[in-house]
Amino acid sequence: MSVRQGFLALLSEQPMNGYQLRQEFERRTGGSWPLNIGQSYTTLNRLHRDGLVETVDDQATDGDPPSVLASHRPAERFHLTESGRETAVSWWTTPVHRGKAERDELAIKIALAVTVPGIDVAAVVREQRSETMRALRALTRAKRDVDPLADRARALILDAQIFAIEAETRWLDHVEATVAATPQSERPKRNTR
């Protein structure tokens, strides 16, 4: 997703100035996505350029929107235009696309470990599992400190990571069991044509 999408979603609730948007964005993403001022103003600038947000000034002048946002007063509040509202709604109604997965360094490393002769795959998997469990414990500790009612966003985002990492450990177990069941000599090697 993009900051842009997030801003549109927030502005569909109520108009906000740049500072409020940035604060609200950080809060609602559970502190997982801090923005700097530059990022947030670049985003607003583009939303403005694309006619998705406007300010009271824009409506008053009723002409071409001023292109440089820096000329706006900092307290100036942005609201959605009609097309901004449509874009915000269509984001909610469109599922997040699960396209081709990113190249996963871990999967590739293990795949290579399985095929390169002389690599102790079980040891590679064990090392990785320790690291993965450490990450999982860190997230779980953070989760324990969150009151899920007071900070639902943070609890939710922590959960997303916790479940994803849990899946990784299950995959590692599966690799370990599969490798244990396959003698080294029967493992696929280089293509020897």
Partner: protein, 245 residues
């Protein structure tokens, strides 16, 4: 911190002759007060055997088991039963609720056996059942409870009273993920307030509530992992999500 559970070179051999099984092959383990240790490993790797031996429900073939500083391996059956009742809370893999007793009576039983007055014991039991979120009448019998509800009763029974060692064998087995997490929170709180805990689980998400995880395979500890404390695991946005305007 006091060591509550200490296993030294513990073995457990089931049966004899050609059919004998080395369920535990020399396990060393120490669990301190305030420490929760997770045990993971494939089916048949000896996890339940480890818990049974630690809780004095099964005897080690060789090696030494200390619970609260006392050598369980050297005790007679009566003394061992006493330690089990007084110091050890146990959640069995197959729950082991007594069918003839209500949920409340099941939970109150270990306290009553320990000489706690019936009314006090029942009040503690009721509080424990509330803490695990049993959402039906505590006067029901186990056969009238769902698997998840029975599980909560079994957990309440293990956590009730002043036990210093809590042994839990797949305590989240029949629970959905929200209730499972609530159980881990209870177990963790209990350990934090001064018990030692050993938790068998197949689920890394639950094991992550422990301070460390030991991995068992064919009765042998093949590895331990610990650590994982950072200021804010969500605090590094560049690694999590690419910024895009």
């Amino acid at each position: 911190m006091t060591v509550v559970l200490e296993l030294t070179n513990v073995t457990r051999v089931h049966g004899r002759g050609p059919t004998q099984v080395h369920a535990l092959g020399g396990v060393d383990l120490a669990v301190r007060e305030g420490e929760l240790v997770a045990v993971m490993g494939p089916s048949g790797s000896g996890k339940s055997t480890l818990l049974n031996v630690a809780g004095g429900l099964d005897s080690a073939t060789s090696g030494r088991v200390l619970v609260a500083g006392r050598d369980v391996t050297a005790m007679n059956a009566r003394r061992r039963a006493e330690v089990r009742r007084r110091d050890v809370g146990y959640v069995f893999q197959d729950l082991n609720l007594i069918p003839a007793l209500t949920a409340l009576e099941n939970v109150a039983l270990p306290l009553e056996l320990d000489g706690v007055a019936v009314r006090t014991a029942r009040a503690s039991a009721l509080a424990a059942l509330e803490a695990v979120g049993l959402d039906v009448a505590p006067g029901r019998f186990p056969e009238d409870l769902s698997g998840g509800q029975q599980q909560r009763v079994a957990i309440a029974r293990a956590l009730v009273g002043p036990r210093r060692l809590v042994l839990a064998d797949e305590p989240t087995g029949a629970l959905d993920s929200v209730t499972g997490e609530a159980v881990l929170r209870l177990l963790r709180d209990r350990v934090d307030s001064g018990a030692a805990g050993l938790l068998v689980t197949h689920d890394a998400r639950y094991a992550a509530w422990a301070d460390r995880t030991i991995h068992l395979r064919d009765g042998v500890v093949t590895g331990t992992d610990a650590g994982g404390r950072v200021a804010d695991p969500l605090g590094e946005p560049a690694d999590l999500m690419e910024w895009e305007a």
